[in-house]
Symmetry: C2
Subunit: 574 residues, 2 copies
Amino acid sequence: MKAIKLFERASRTYSDSSSFSKLLVVFTVSGGGLLAYADANSTNPIAPPEIKKKRVVVLGTGWAGTSFLKQLDNPSYDVQVISPRNYFAFTPLLPSVTVGTVEPRSIVEPIRNIVKKKNVDVHYWEAECFKIDSQSKKVHCRSNQNIDGKGKEEFVVDYDYLVIAMGARPNTFNTPGVVEHCNFLKEVEDAQKIRRSVIDAFEKASLPSLSDEERQKMLHFVVVGGGPTGVEFAAELHDFVKEDLVKLYPAAGKYVKITLLEAADHILTMFDKRITEFAEDKFKRDGIDVKLGSMVIKVSDKEISTKARVNGQVATMPYGMVVWSTGIGTDPVVKDFMKQVGQETRRVLATDEWLRVEGTDSIYALGDCATINQRRVMEDIDSIFKKADKDNSGKLTVKELQEVVDDICERYPQVDLYLKTKKLRNIADLLKDDSKSSVEISIEELKTALNEVDAQVKNLPATAQVAAQQGAYLAKCFNRMEEAEKNPEGPLRFRGEGRHRFRPFRYKHFGQFAPLGGEQTAAQLPGDWVSIGHSTQWLWYSVYASKLVSWRTRSLVVTDWVKRFIFGRDSSSI
Amino acid sequence: MKAIKLFERASRTYSDSSSFSKLLVVFTVSGGGLLAYADANSTNPIAPPEIKKKRVVVLGTGWAGTSFLKQLDNPSYDVQVISPRNYFAFTPLLPSVTVGTVEPRSIVEPIRNIVKKKNVDVHYWEAECFKIDSQSKKVHCRSNQNIDGKGKEEFVVDYDYLVIAMGARPNTFNTPGVVEHCNFLKEVEDAQKIRRSVIDAFEKASLPSLSDEERQKMLHFVVVGGGPTGVEFAAELHDFVKEDLVKLYPAAGKYVKITLLEAADHILTMFDKRITEFAEDKFKRDGIDVKLGSMVIKVSDKEISTKARVNGQVATMPYGMVVWSTGIGTDPVVKDFMKQVGQETRRVLATDEWLRVEGTDSIYALGDCATINQRRVMEDIDSIFKKADKDNSGKLTVKELQEVVDDICERYPQVDLYLKTKKLRNIADLLKDDSKSSVEISIEELKTALNEVDAQVKNLPATAQVAAQQGAYLAKCFNRMEEAEKNPEGPLRFRGEGRHRFRPFRYKHFGQFAPLGGEQTAAQLPGDWVSIGHSTQWLWYSVYASKLVSWRTRSLVVTDWVKRFIFGRDSSSI
């Protein structure tokens, strides 16, 4: 039944937009639309039509996947979205959700709502992809919930293009006991669980007939990881306790302790030193115990053990709740996929600068589950030289270099950065000076000049901002795929013929916030501009309010903030 | 440690309000304040002072318990509240929570918030009472959560007065499979679970590779019980599907079916016939399948079986979700307590008209966990006659009757009702006519006249309105306890000396709403006034908004309604 309907739609599509459909024939490899495992059940006697819309399968509804779906507006795709979460969550507000400053429903938007008004056919399946089969271009999925009498439904989805945006797992660094005893802070459910645990701890500690030690233990909250999420959670928890809970649990107040463990020498190391110092000072004033250089080596059901980096001293402390917020790890499904595409030795899935997974031709990966493997100049230096040396003289004139320098900078942004930061002054001066256009450079000279350029290459941080920009970038590529085949808009292919179809992805950093509690926020803005204090908190409010995914979430979050100002946070244990 | 603090407080109390404390000596039987099971742990070397505040223990934070706590303002009590829920929930809005018309947090208020501003010492323990020991005046409690290494904490609380307001359980009528497979709708958690299940059902039914039968089964929602809760849930679910879900799940729409099963001949039998008819008609137009006279006899994991009352025919239908909303049953803790106080043969815990549990002198029960056992006139008729016959003539003059008729009406409201509805015209006429004041009535004549009066006695419905009025009534009694000892304000004691301390509880019916979906509400107002339609919906909005427990919940619920009008209901599966 299902199969027939799909073929009907496919045929309809053919007549609707035949020009594009013809092009698709070239790309269509496997047929069959959407097929269930139980192929024998298929009662379709009609052979599948050979021409149909290009099938794009998107795995994940986080920042990258949702941003891709929002920007995609080329109706010549048939899009299927697979994710265990039927909503997009505005994750930067998760720390606020842990204590009820913002309600969970205010930061989520059903993915069906996001895609329903589009001119593109988008189907969503609430399921988890448990295997990517890049050989036969299929993804194997398992439904989120049990179907009565059958267990979880398994099904297979074919793709022409696959967009992997599955995000990452929390990284436990294989520390024993972390998975069993710690709370994470990556999903809405995590935040709800933490909220419930905090209230539970206060209720427990208020029971009669407990010893002081027991109360102290119950109300000892430990945060592992001094990154923005861990710091913001510690700050939010501190505010919740001081502003709301001590009023309702006056006897429990004196037992509360918040400890922040950070393995490095400072918290918020990705921020400017001024911000780090301000944050550490503020936490000290607030009574949050920041233990720097302190690595967690074990978590049991009652205690957490740390080792000091300086002297290797091991300390153990009882805790009531631990929130683990350190780095990201790779999903097992992605790990398995990496083996298929020859990336088994890598730690993280690598893509090229166009977000295409290395070793594949139709699979893209973006967001936290992948990193861009920026091509090194020195690997391609011979090809670059050869391509630039149009007269095959074995020497590059400055004029010849001038002609390709824009393409080089676009293809290898590290060169651009080097030129802009004046580190390649001799070459830059040469290129600017028209009178020097006949000066010749040998390949050895070029190699020497560019020798340290590749050291500039840095991985992008695993942030929502990067993921969202990647999703939008990829959608724009997909929107103009047909167009770009005819008129490539990217830089010269130094190791091949012609030009790249698209310009490579470039990240634009719009700054980052670190809310520190007590209406204090620090922000690192573009151009190393640092802003700290009460006014930054208002900037934070306004930026986050404007970035929320829909008018619904925007108004709900603002309403939540107003509610919090007027009534405080709710402490009902639901 | 704990014990010492309690005694300190008790001593302080003594000096603060010694006049009342002296009175307490008379009542205080057992000492020891709040004692843990592990008495051996007690390190208190000081003997407990003999005079302290009267300890009131309240079990439950529902309508009755919360209403009692809100109204109690006599500082001479030491109040301890024990409930597994640390919040009060505005239960009439639970059906709205099941589909997200109102958010769960908008209808709850932490009990600590409700009591914190009072001049009365109120302590709350998040625990469940698992045994009432009326002999030694103790309640045995178990904490809601595990205390590490100890399991659930158990402790004992002593009381001078016990207020049982534990509510009731859903009544399954011992139907097999109900507990295992049905959803109930009594707690906030139930509503949240139903909301999640509805979305899950739509996501499941949207998966590829399912048969039509499977989809139909998944989207078949069955509501058992045609009372106000069941009807309102069916209506809310219908609105959610039609207004929100079919837009997001266009393919699933045609499979949805809502069935309402009612064992009686009509739904909403407690309402006026016009309302019942309107509701049945509206549901028919909406496509809700109302099956009347249909008793559920079994629920399996896949199917629900019913038996028609008319012909005994058994029918079985597959379902996706069942919500069970029929009547109330007694909690096992209350059952056990009933045995202790000689009520083992009763179905429901019985109290007298002052809400005091029959067979006890310091235990009160109110709300859904108890019923008032209204004393019958005919049982007391001899005592009444004797007390009224002041001159012991063996005959009552009309004058003598006139003197006690107010007390009779107050003590036996069925007589009042009878007089008001003109059914006792001959006696009423006698009483009004001053010229007849010397007419004499024999006891036989009085018995004949009052013969059918007791048939007027009806149990109060198990509604929030009754529970709230009972809580407020009892609090007022507690507030004036001392005063009323000296100047009793109740009716004459016909079977004893003097007057009752308080007037007995009287329920005032302020009407009841039945929201029917599609902005249609029916209301039965006092004086059998019936109102149906769109304007009643607005009346419903305004009454409910005004009745919510705090300004916080009031504004949150109104905000939720506005949100729903603007953005619809959220369908994220969180």
